[in-house]
């Protein structure tokens, strides 16, 4: 893996001056992924925090070619860019290698963009799709998404007198991508930057459709102090709330096995979105969440052992 020193002499895809919240987590995801590419890159983004904060006309924070089309179609849009590139390669109008990257939030990836993503993956385009997953529609004020975990407080499924935030579990998008039989799918989180950079590097070394699901704490929606973005992110992996793993040609590899699996309450209590769960009457929910995490973790380890 390239060292941080080596990465630091590459071209940062973003400048300062974008309007992401102080302490946001997605600009680092973008930087880590893009810096991992030795070759030039072209970026497409779904509508969402990333696109909105980095391209307020006439100020673009992008230093690399960037296209935004709409909310649900980043994968389809990038598949068109990639097809044009192939056409130009064939005609000898372009020669250099370019890596194609799409970024979408969890709304634009898990929910409204799932069909477009699935289609692009099935067609086998040579591109990397990265979901910066902050587990709700943060750009439009913290509405629930298919990625929102059980018990989280959101504005469209808030905690109240009779309901304790989201009732359902999050869907397992990484496994849905694995089920597309793509050559590379992975889960990462921004606080474990070395793991993410290594996964991005690996993704760029492989041809075909690739997917990385990156958990990104959001200080606005998760409600914590801005300096804690990276540390809370690591807590998600240390509690196995968000296991770090990769699946290369069907072969599972867990890339972080906490020496001592921390209890989930350590992660939950670090953010106000779960505060209501610590009301004594909600203890059963905490127990349930821990159980599910333990079950999923064992299941993942079993897949790796196969």
């Amino acid at each position: 893996m390239a060292t941080l020193k080596e990465l630091s002499v590459r071209k940062d895809p973003l400048t300062g001056g974008h309007r992401a919240c102080a302490g946001c987590g997605f600009p680092q995801i973008v930087r880590m992924v893009c810096l991992a590419s030795k070759d030039p890159i072209v970026v497409v983004s779904a509508t969402g925090c990333l696109e909105v904060t980095t391209t307020i006309f006439p100020y673009s924070a992008w230093t690399v070619p960037f296209l935004h089309n709409a909310f649900e179609n980043a994968a389809a849009t990038l598949s068109g860019v990639e097809a044009a590139y192939k056409a130009f390669l064939k005609k000898g109008k372009i020669a250099k290698k370019i890596n194609f990257i799409a970024f979408g939030g969890d709304g634009g990836t898990y929910d409204i963009g799932l069909q477009s993503l699935s289609g692009a993956m099935e067609r086998g385009h040579n591109l990397l799709y990265v979901c910066y997953n902050n587990q709700a529609y943060m750009n439009t004020s913290i509405q629930r998404s298919g990625a929102t975990p059980k018990g989280a407080n959101t504005t469209t499924e808030p905690a109240g007198k009779v309901k304790q935030g989201k009732v359902q579990r999050q869907k397992d998008l990484t496994e849905i991508m694995v089920a597309h039989n793509i050559p590379y799918a992975a889960q990462a989180t921004v606080g474990y930057w070395a793991d993410l950079v290594r996964k991005a590097e690996k993704a760029f070394s492989i041809d075909g459709p690739r997917f990385i699901n990156v958990l990104q704490p959001c200080r606005l929606g998760w409600v914590y102090k801005p300096e804690e973005t990276m540390s809370i992110s690591r807590l998600a992996a240390d509690t196995c709330f968000w296991p770090l793993y990769e699946v290369e040609n069907g072969k599972y590899k867990v890339t972080l096995k906490p020496k001592e699996k921390k209890p989930i309450i350590e992660f939950l209590k670090s953010q106000d979105r779960f505060r209501h769960l610590f009301n004594p009457k909600n203890e059963t929910i905490l127990v349930e969440i821990q159980k599910e995490i333990d079950y999923n973790w064992e299941k993942l380890l079993a897949k790796e052992a196969k």
Partner: protein, 388 residues
Amino acid sequence: MITVAKTGNEAMAEAMRQINPDVVAAYPITPATEIVMIFAKYVADGLVDTEYIPVESEHSAMSACVGAASAGARVMTGTSSQGLALMYEILPIASALRLPIIMCEVNRAISGPINIHCDHSDTMAARDFGWIQIFSENTQEAYDNLLQAVRIAEDKRVMLPIMVTTDGFIISHGMEKLEMIEDPIVKEYIGEKKPEYSLLDIEKPTTVGALDLTDYYFEHKMPVIEAMKNAKDVILEVGKDFEKKFGRQYGFYEKYKLDDAEFAVVVLGSASGTAKVAIDQLRASGVKAGMLKIRVFRPFPAEEIAKELTGKKAIAVMDRSDSFNTCGGPVFTEIRSALFDSQNKPSITNFVYGLGGRDINVEQIKNIFESIRNVGKVPVVNYIGVRQ
């Protein structure tokens, strides 16, 4: 010229083969499916160099077209009805980004009820998205229009997406005589695409599709409005050049026995063939009947049409879709508005016809003429061919 017999869909597919676009992204839908099927075979047989993307929906088809066109590619697609409706969200993005995407659109009724036959409700609902819209009466026009579309859309003064339409089944599946231009001549005629920008230009990175707040959105709409104005000049120039090279004449509209007519119908698409027969019969019986067949609906040639129609006694505007505005179909409201400033304006009546593929025949069109000859006898908006 090579004379062949082709359906509208086959003619469009042949034109696509000759255009040999860099990228085609499309999804099957009746009655446009065949265009893509034929083209896919051309790809499979190596007759074109195109990167063909068999997407999972029309939404993704148009999205991929935007991506490919932003990368500087010459891009085509084909669709109909619900497929076009699924693209609606992305159509104005294509025009705002000034991407000259070329679409074969086969006019078909919009659901519901679901119906696979011709009317213009799909294309008319897409009229305000900054796309140039060209209607074809027959297979020959579909072919010629598609070739001209490349030149119009990619002209530096225009740089707008374009849809060339045929009428579902009536033209798309109707076999007709087609004069095809030889492959190398088409290649030379359309030339190489020279894009304004390309996402693949690594040396000159560009941000495309930025967010506008209240301070810039309005300004960004103005160039599209200006380009539409320019498109009027370019459409005429390209039409003249086409006539010079290949002998067939194209403008904003076609006049049929219009100049000395007292009564005229305004028609788009395949029904104009039927109208011509009706007009010949009426002329034979001494009625000064005529027709204005609109070819270009966007940009709308309002001034030019007003000049043609002013001074007539009465005009019947035939709409193959309704606006549900209670006061007339989309063509009618355009024509009425176009004539508002004329000194000597005719009476104008609207006839909505043919929804969901309902046939329109010569007798009905003769009845339309009969109605407008008795000015004031019929309502302003009429629905013909429907059981009342």
